[in-house]
Subunit: 398 residues, 2 copies
């Protein structure tokens, strides 16, 4: 529907995503990280914005980073689901080709009967992982299939199979508990699948190669998937879009919907510099701040608060660029009290000259409940409002 | 669903629609038109009502008047879409019969190669339009088809074709830009369509007849459509309904859902007089105020504000009739700051003795955010609440 009324314009949009920014009270004053942080510029922006709390996927749903981002990009995260293998490839900047099969691998430990005793092989070091991946890469030989075994981190690696007519319709080989043998490669629909034979061949060779290793003497595979053919931001919303993200995983998600990936550094400052330097080249900029989530997952209230304060100091620089629309939010909540992603709605604000601001003057969980977007706004519907504010939607009906 | 539990009753409902009433701040005090207007009676009603902001079609969507009205009449505006030709017929009170094909026409200017140089023929006068329509009406002859060419205004006219087995599945002949030739009549599905031949015959005759005219020497046709077969307000909600609207377009939309159209004058006073005079004859009255939208589109903040104040002065007269339920809203926002329809949600209030009023005491954009209907209530769901307040819905389930 939005696709049919989207139109081009010269207006510019910035989507600033503080990963996992939402929180729950976790200090002596019973405040969230956003509430405790000193954020004069974000609060000024909130005063001039329409505010609320957004639901990335649905009520009670704790989103992973993929669905959390797809919603705020205007894609229904239940419809656009991406496999773990494809995300792992994005996460290490592995360029998947059409038709490639990607899977997330774990090194694991099995006993003499072949039963899994540790699904993560004691979380082996990344160094050991690299040696084992190299070993598998060198020794495994499957006729007609190119095999890539790439280190991710600790016990995690990426497997990519490249060949003709491969199918990603395979179930996990990971039995999900110890005391059980890994499953062979199986199809979802019980039909005979040549790709399953190829994967079994791979697994058998890997088992022999790793036989004398310890503790990583076997592998488990999950999330077989192929690069999805999704409509791009250009096709859906007529936006020339660019992603500014220091972490590969977020570049990966952005690439799936056709964003250009801009080279940038690790710091928040360098991300905003990248924004400034590319200002003339795009309509839509997605700027991703990772460390709010990282410190949330570490349970580090104070450090998460400080990242928010650092972002706040760059808001004037953002506003000097004179974007037509600014949206600030997160892809999900990561309360430092819980130290993991959570189901709580995420503060959001949309600023434009014509946004019709509400009475919210602080960008935080408690204030945004009273905003014009309401306390449970579907993430997927944010982008249409952003586009409307950017005068990029035609009128519907006569 | 609502249809299955709707029941008859003797209660009376008034839906007061101030067209385009919603606004955004646009005066020195940073107020909207509703906020700046002196509206003691609307505010008193708000104090006793359940309030909120309603979304006519969806988030970010700027509705035309058709979809904007269908939502507040309880019809899903995405499901019930009506063509421009049918709306144009409603707009000039042309009575379409079942099977008629209606299209919106423009007089345009073409050059010697037949390319369009002005899609509106310099916005010719309505007088010239009338002469040209009469000329076409008299001279065009298509065997087996009755042709009606009716003046709308300036360069706009209505074409109606009446005959056997005609199809409205035709694309616009308007190329939408100058420098191109008008399209011939084409079907949406590329199939051969006898109606396309009839339209081409009409276009060829029109071209010859207008050959020596200037600047209106050709016509463009848009929005081919047939009167839709929609369920009536009576069928959906068991309501005997009447429309009081000074402007033809709104009478047209009302007629599509089976409302009786009451004769009324141009002024707000005469509309309320019509309401009073017909009070005993209907269950549901739709009263339409046009000028809030007209002045909004003119960018005239002060005049729009004054229309709101004029409506306010008739609220006591409305309440003296002792309706059981009153709903006040608009079909969309038309902020004078933007001078066109917009995507912003529209203030709405539903009053009845049993509505369970909230803490909102002012009928405007900022206050209604905090109302019991919330800041983003789907327009389509308003009528069920109105019916419930009118004790016109059965209990659902045992």
């Amino acid at each position: 529907m939005i696709q049919s009324i989207a139109k081009e314009n010269t207006t510019k949009i910035v989507l600033l995503v503080m990963d996992g920014v939402g929180g729950i009270p976790n200090n002596k004053e019973n405040q969230t990280e956003l509430e405790a942080a000193f954020t004069p510029h974000l609060d000024k922006l909130a005063e001039e914005s329409i505010c609320g709390l957004q639901l990335p996927v649905g009520n009670g749903i704790t989103p992973g980073s993929g669905p959390g981002h797809l919603g705020i990009f205007g894609y229904n995260p239940l419809k656009y689901q991406v496999g773990r293998g494809v995300l792992a490839a994005g996460g290490i900047n592995f360029e998947l080709k059409d038709g490639d099969i990607a899977a997330r691998g774990n090194f694991c430990t099995i006993d003499e009967q072949g039963k899994v005793t540790d699904r993560r092989a004691g979380r082996i070091s990344t160094d050991l992982n690299q040696r084992l991946c190299k070993l598998l890469q060198e020794k495994i030989n499957i006729p007609g299939v190119e095999v890539f075994v790439e280190t991710v981190k600790e016990h995690r690696f990426l497997l990519v199979l490249r060949g003709k007519n491969l199918s990603g319709e395979l179930l996990d080989t990971d039995p999900q508990e110890t005391g059980k043998k890994p499953f062979p490669a199986r199809t979802k629909n019980e039909r005979v699948n040549p790709t399953a034979k190829i994967v079994d061949n791979f697994l058998n060779q890997a088992k022999q190669i790793l036989h004398h290793e310890h503790p990583a003497n076997m592998i488990l595979l999950r999330g077989f998937s192929q690069k999805p053919q999704w409509p791009s931001m250009k096709e859906c919303f007529k936006l020339n879009s660019a992603a500014i993200a220091a972490y590969p995983m977020y570049r990966g998600v952005s690439k799936l919907i056709g964003m250009d990936i801009l080279e940038t550094g690790e710091t928040i400052e360098s991300e905003f510099e990248t924004l400034k330097n590319n200002w003339d080249n795009y309509d839509f900029f997605y700027v991703h701040i990772k460390k709010t989530d990282s410190y949330g997952e570490d349970g580090n209230f104070e450090a998460k608060k400080q990242v928010i304060e650092e972002v706040d100091r760059f808001i004037p620089m953002l506003r000097e660029l004179e974007p037509d629309v600014i949206m600030v939010t997160g892809d999900h909540s990561t309360p430092s009290k819980l130290a993991f992603h959570s189901w709580h709605p995420v503060p959001v604000m949309i600023w434009s000259e014509d946004c019709r601001s509400d009475e919210v003057n602080h960008f935080n969980e408690t204030s945004c409940v009273h905003g014009g977007l309401g306390p449970r706004f579907p993430a997927e519907d944010l982008l249409p409002i952003v586009l409307a504010n950017a005068k990029r939607l035609e009128k519907f009906g006569a």
